[in-house]
């Protein structure tokens, strides 16, 4: 009776379960035996696909490679490795991507504040200062410099702020200058948001349109699901 690996037939293919309590050496050994056995049992020309469940173990790339070296050949393939756990580093990344980064500070002339994911800034962006995020930017305070959302090209990002000063908003590759001029109601004493519309034109809209225009804002999962 094997105790390091278990093989289960599923409709998607074969599930190869590696037991968390077994040593990796033992696992390799048993996979080798299993492979020989399977080769004997299956008719030649029959293709088999595996997916490997690693349980509470996270395999390194070289460990995955060792398993692939044993299993994969002309007829046998591995579609994925699935683990029940992730590293703390990856967890932090996911955690960070799934909630806005909060910054409480003043961004002064010549400074650039960069953020992965969404950015919530509590403070001021002075003229000549820049806040940049790969996601959306929300400013509680005064925006007098540049806010660049969707910095790496995400055009569905938004910038939300109280646009009562001269400022500049960029979303992806689009640029919009906010300034006081006649017949222009962009600058006012209420919270608005800037987004790129379906025609790829930057648009400043009142806050109450946010849920209609960008319903996905606020429903982040951080890419985990």
């Amino acid at each position: 009776m094997n105790n390091a690996v278990t093989l289960k037939g599923r409709k998607e293919g074969f599930q190869l379960i590696l037991h968390s309590s077994a040593s990796f050496e033992k696992i390799l050994e048993e996979i080798k035996e299993l492979k020989v056995q399977l080769k004997n049992d299956t008719q030649t020309g029959h293709e088999l696909n595996f997916y490997v469940k690693t349980g509470n173990r996270e395999l390194t790339d070289s460990e995955k490679k060792q398993i692939e070296d044993i299993i994969v050949d002309d007829h046998f393939s591995i579609s994925s490795f699935q683990s029940d756990v992730i590293s703390i580093e990856d967890a932090l990344k996911l955690h960070q991507a799934s909630r806005p980064r909060l910054e409480v500070r003043t961004v002064r002339s010549g400074q650039i504040l960069d953020a992965q994911g969404d950015l919530l800034l509590i403070g001021e962006v002075h003229p000549g200062g820049t806040v940049r995020a790969t996601g959306s930017i929300f400013v509680i305070g005064e925006l007098k410099g540049i806010a660049h959302a969707g910095f790496s090209g995400n055009e569905s990002a938004i910038v939300l702020a109280n646009f009562r000063h001269n400022a500049q908003v960029r979303i992806g590759g689009n640029v919009h200058v906010i300034e006081k001029s006649e017949g222009n109601s962009e600058q006012s004493d209420e919270i608005k948001f800037v987004c790129v519309n379906d025609l790829h034109i930057i648009e400043v809209s009142p806050l109450h349109d946010l849920k209609t225009i960008r319903p996905e804002i606020g429903k982040h999962s951080g890419g985990l699901f």
């Binding site: 002339s109 010549g110 400074q111 650039i112 003229p127 000549g128 820049t130 007098k144 410099g145 001269n166 400022a167 500049q168 640029v175 200058v177 906010i178 300034e179």
Partner: protein
């Protein structure tokens, strides 16, 4: 082919940026096509006093490093119709991010499209200064009547003499009549003679300079101000007109005129 003029001083804070903005604006008012180039990398100001700060998308370093085309970085001043433009400095870059050859190439490009290219030089005599003078055909030297500023101006003249640029033309800025009349500072003649360069013009100390800069409108736009007249005269002289120098006495007369005249 236009002309590139560097506005320099040696000493900081004597009015290079103010002079660049105002002379440029005055030339634009005279229907010249002007491009102002801010070379004060890391501490740019020219955009601010022109009221164009929030319109900057790309800057000179973006152009040099290939992130933007020259025409993309140039900002048009909407107050003039196709007369006045600005190539902004980078705010988060190093002065050494651009060198003299790159400047020469860039300014050469600009001279094809503009009558005047005015280069706002940073204070000091380091790389920023070298870059600024490298591409210039002419130089305007700004000083105040203060001895320390005059010393630095003298040093700059010496440095410019070593280049192919002709001797710089002098602007004496921030003149306070009373101090000059009392002999507290060197007078216009003494300064000009001491530096032995041609005097391009004088600009009186005028609170309106600060007030208008704060609003992003160069003072020269409103001819009623004394500093505005100084800059308008300077622009006309650059264009070859003979304009008599404003004298301290004349200044007094215009003061009485101001008091009894219809305007102001």
């Amino acid at each position: 082919m236009g002309k590139a003029i560097v506005v320099t001083s040696g000493k900081g804070g004597v009015g290079k940026t103010t002079s660049t903005a105002n002379i440029g604006t005055a030339l634009a008012l005279q229907s010249k096509k002007v491009c102002l180039v801010d070379m004060d990398i890391g501490l740019r100001n020219l955009d601010v006093i022109l009221g164009l700060e929030n319109r900057i998308i790309y800057d000179i370093i973006d152009v040099v490093e290939g992130r933007a085309k020259l025409h993309q970085a140039i900002i048009k001043d909407k107050r003039f119709n196709d007369q006045l433009f600005l190539l902004p400095a980078a705010q988060h870059a190093d002065k050494n991010a651009i060198n003299e050859e790159q400047m020469i190439e860039l300014i050469g490009e600009l001279k094809k499209d503009y009558d005047y290219v005015l280069i706002d030089c940073p204070a000091g005599i380091e790389q920023g200064f070298k870059n600024s003078i490298a591409a210039a055909d002419d130089a305007i030297l700004v000083t105040t009547p203060e001895i320390s500023a005059i010393r630095d101006a003298d040093r700059i003249i010496g440095l410019i003499e070593q280049t192919s640029i002709q001797a710089p033309k002098l602007i004496i800025n921030r003149i306070r009549k009373s101090m000059m009349q009392n002999g507290d500072v060197m007078d216009i003649d003494e300064i000009t003679r001491h530096l032995s360069v041609e005097l391009l013009g004088i600009v009186f100390e005028d609170d309106e300079v600060v007030r208008s800069s704060n609003k992003g409108n160069p003072v020269v736009l409103d001819p009623s101000h004394i500093a505005s007249q100084g800059y308008r005269n300077i622009a006309r002289r650059l264009l070859g007109d003979t304009v008599p120098l404003m004298t301290l006495k004349e200044e007094k007369r215009s003061f009485w005129k101001k008091l009894f005249g219809k305007k102001n």
